[in-house]
């Protein structure tokens, strides 16, 4: 029997609006396939032994909470997150978690707050808040059964720019994405994924959830052949109905 361990980083601090839905989704979709799954939480002053984990998740936080984790993150966990990303661990960072995986965050006053630096990207604070439904297209998710569209909700004032070391996660179809200017959303480097999409992201984007689970299983079990399909009727209904509404909205 296969087994995966999911690590939820700072769940008590980086949990802005529903990000735990992603953990619930990863767990349930493993459970339904008889893949044994364990979720471990790691927060302030707790050891982050990344080698034990197959999927590492970090959600979004409010500015106040992000300042709380700053020290803890930069002191102990930073190098381990970089190592985990380099070794191809599956990592998903959302919103604040996505920004933290980058190199720095530049505040309004121009000072640069150093971030983890696992991903070649950086974020600049802006006046405007980029808020609303977000639809983007991921080529790697396209298959005979799915169009590769991913839908979520973005709510950020930071604008993120990608360096050469990462690829965008997708092309924005509707919404702002990373910065509202270059038409890209999120970033991918090896098996590390970052995005602004809350929603929660994974429940109604089951193809993306399964993609992450598959990568994690391949890491751990090289002989792994692929996931059994699940009945995703409700998930796909949720995905397509909101995409339809969002694309029809002219505003």
């Amino acid at each position: 029997m296969y087994k995966l361990t999911i690590c939820h980083l700072y769940p008590d601090l980086m949990n802005l609006y529903g990000d735990r839905g992603n953990i619930i989704t990863l767990s349930k979709r493993c459970e339904w396939r008889n893949i044994d799954v364990e979720t471990v939480t790691v927060s302030l002053n707790e050891e982050f032994d990344y080698e034990k984990y197959d999927i590492i998740f970090i959600g979004g936080g409010q500015d106040f909470e992000q300042t709380i984790i700053q020290d803890d993150l930069m002191r102990g966990k930073r190098q381990r997150i970089i190592d985990a990303a380099e070794e191809g661990k599956v990592i998903l960072g959302i919103c604040g978690g996505f920004q933290l995986l980058g190199k720095y965050y530049k505040t309004q006053s121009g000072s640069e707050i150093e971030c983890v630096g696992a991903l070649d990207l950086w974020t600049c604070s802006s006046e405007a808040r980029l808020t609303g439904n977000l639809v983007f297209e991921c080529d790697f998710l396209k298959s005979q059964t799915t169009d590769g569209y991913v839908v979520g909700f973005e709510n950020h004032s930071g604008k993120t720019y990608l360096g050469e070391g990462v690829k965008p996660l997708g092309k924005v179809i509707k919404g702002f994405g990373n910065n509202g200017d270059d038409g890209f959303e999120g970033a991918v480097y090896k098996n590390t994924y970052g995005t602004y999409a809350h929603g929660s992201l994974l429940p109604k984007n089951p193809a993306l959830a399964d993609h992450l689970i598959t990568l994690a299983l391949l890491n751990k079990y090289p002989e792994f052949q692929g996931l059994d399909p699940l009945d995703d009727k409700l998930e796909n209904l949720a995905r397509t109905s909101v995409i339809k509404r969002v694309l029809a909205d002219k505003s």
């Binding site: 601090l13 609006y17 529903g18 839905g21 106040f64 709380i68 709510n155 929660s200």
Partner: protein
């Protein structure tokens, strides 16, 4: 000359607004916010102009504003004070303006001197300094509508800014909420705190403290000697010693608690009394405590306060109950995870079989981001699945709610999607057995839609005001 112009503007604004109110009412359009918008256009400073005419009591905070306002209204009634109050949907500057102008004569005299105003947290920042309220009641702060407010701490700061510009106002604040209580720190305003005494309601589930587990002053993790729910309780910061302040109005015992009522002992500065609240749900005890604070400030006797609290029966916060075709429909507004979790906990006290309807919209009034449904502990519903005949999901985002239920461990066979409100009502009435309960848990705009259908179909007259 300048003064004369100012006066003319004010008079014009008053007359035109009053006309707009009359016309809209004749057209049966309600008209609670639009006339105020016109008034603010004509005379942008109108609230400051009106402030001298009224003695203002404001109620703000994330949850419980409406219920607290209604109990406060009872306190004012009991004191023999005539007052005006805004409708719950009209709690922005425009709605408040409409309400105040409505109480003026054409010559600008206030016919009623006291105004009880439910105020949106963001609007509070600008409205409070203008109206110079005599009393400000703040219920609590939870994560809510972050798509609109940005962050929980911004919401708190809106209210803080409003209070800092109102140094004369007496504050009635929730002592158990570290965020709300902080509003009373370092200010010169007289402060009355309300809360639960330590250990009165021993909460075991600490994990639900997602909104404010860390000290807002120094970022250390709070220690709690007891918790009521979410982040409310007897907190203390081990590093900077910021702690739950002493409360003048306190619930010192919960004597009885069921799905319809709670009987509690309340301590006020000069005594203690037991009171049976016709309000189920733990957070309504908080609302009752806040309103008791007002009753105390109004110098009502113990007996009068008890009378108001016991006579208040609108049900579970914003719960309305109607009987239709021998079935009991309970409609309870849901708008954020903390409130929703309380509603689910209340539903767990249900003994008979029931039908559950969840209606999720994502309009501005509901919050356009529906991610928050993933922070609601729907998982507890899976424990009472055998009592629930079906889960109906409705509203703009019905499918998202269906997925949430599926991942909470609800059997997919029990989940039905129905967007059309008329058909929804038909189906839930047909599925529920005689004398069974139908729960309808809608977000704000979904509630208005469903209520309209119920009203039209069953000729219900203003069962909700």
């Amino acid at each position: 000359m300048k003064n004369l112009l100012k006066k003319m503007r004010l008079t014009a604004a008053i007359i035109i607004t009053k006309l707009a109110v009359i016309v809209l009412r004749l057209l049966n359009r309600g008209g609670t916010t639009f006339p105020g918008k016109i008034a603010l256009k004509i005379c942008p400073n109108i609230l400051s102009e009106l402030s001298d005419k009224f003695r203002v009591i404001m109620v703000t905070g994330t949850n419980g504003k409406t219920t607290t306002c209604r109990i406060c209204a009872g306190m004012l009634d009991k004191s023999g004070i005539k007052y005006i109050a805004n409708k719950s949907g009209a709690n922005l500057a425009s709605g408040i303006t409409t309400t105040l102008i409505d109480a003026l004569s054409l010559t600008g005299k206030a016919m009623v001197r006291t105004a009880l105003l439910e105020t949106d947290e963001a609007a509070f920042k600008t409205v409070a300094p203008k109206l110079k309220p005599e009393i400000i009641i703040v219920t609590n702060f939870f994560k809510d509508q972050l798509d609109r407010f940005g962050e929980l701490y911004s919401t708190l700061n809106y209210v803080r800014d409003g209070i800092l510009s109102s140094p004369e106002s007496t504050l009635i604040l929730n002592a158990d909420d570290s965020l709300c209580a902080s509003l009373g720190q370092g200010v010169d305003n007289p402060v009355f705190y309300f809360g639960f005494a330590d250990g009165v309601y021993p909460e075991t589930n600490f994990s639900s403290n997602n909104d404010a587990p860390y000290c807002m002053n120094c970022s250390a993790r709070y220690e709690y000697s007891s918790v009521t729910f979410a982040h409310l309780g007897h907190f203390k910061c081990p590093r900077c010693n910021y702690e739950r302040p002493e409360a003048k109005i306190e619930c010192t015992q919960v004597l009885h608690y069921d799905n319809l009522t709670s009987t509690v002992e309340i301590k006020v500065p000069d005594g203690k009394f037991a009171v049976k609240l016709a309000l189920p749900g733990l957070y309504n005890i908080y609302n009752a405590l806040a309103a008791t604070g007002l009753g105390y400030l109004l110098e009502l006797s113990e007996k009068d306060i008890i009378h108001v609290l016991e006579g208040f029966e609108t049900g579970f916060g914003r719960m309305e109950t109607v009987n239709v075709m021998d079935r009991e429909i309970k409609m309870i507004l849901v708008k954020n995870p903390t409130g929703f979790n309380q509603v689910l906990r209340y539903m767990m006290t249900q003994n008979n079989r029931c039908v559950v309807t969840l209606a999720l919209n994502d309009k501005l009034a509901d919050g356009t981001d529906i991610s928050w449904i993933w922070d609601v502990d729907f998982e507890i519903l899976s424990f009472m699945q055998n009592k629930i005949r079906f889960f109906y999901v409705s509203g703009d985002r019905a499918e998202d709610m269906a997925v949430r239920l599926k991942y909470a461990g609800i059997d997919e066979e029990l989940i039905r999607i129905e967007h059309n409100e008329n058909q929804l009502i038909d189906k839930i009435l047909a599925e529920a057995g005689e004398n069974e309960t139908i729960y309808i848990l809608p977000t704000y705009s979904a509630m208005l839609d469903i209520r309209q259908v119920l009203k039209n179909r069953f000729n219900l007259k203003d069962f909700w005001k």
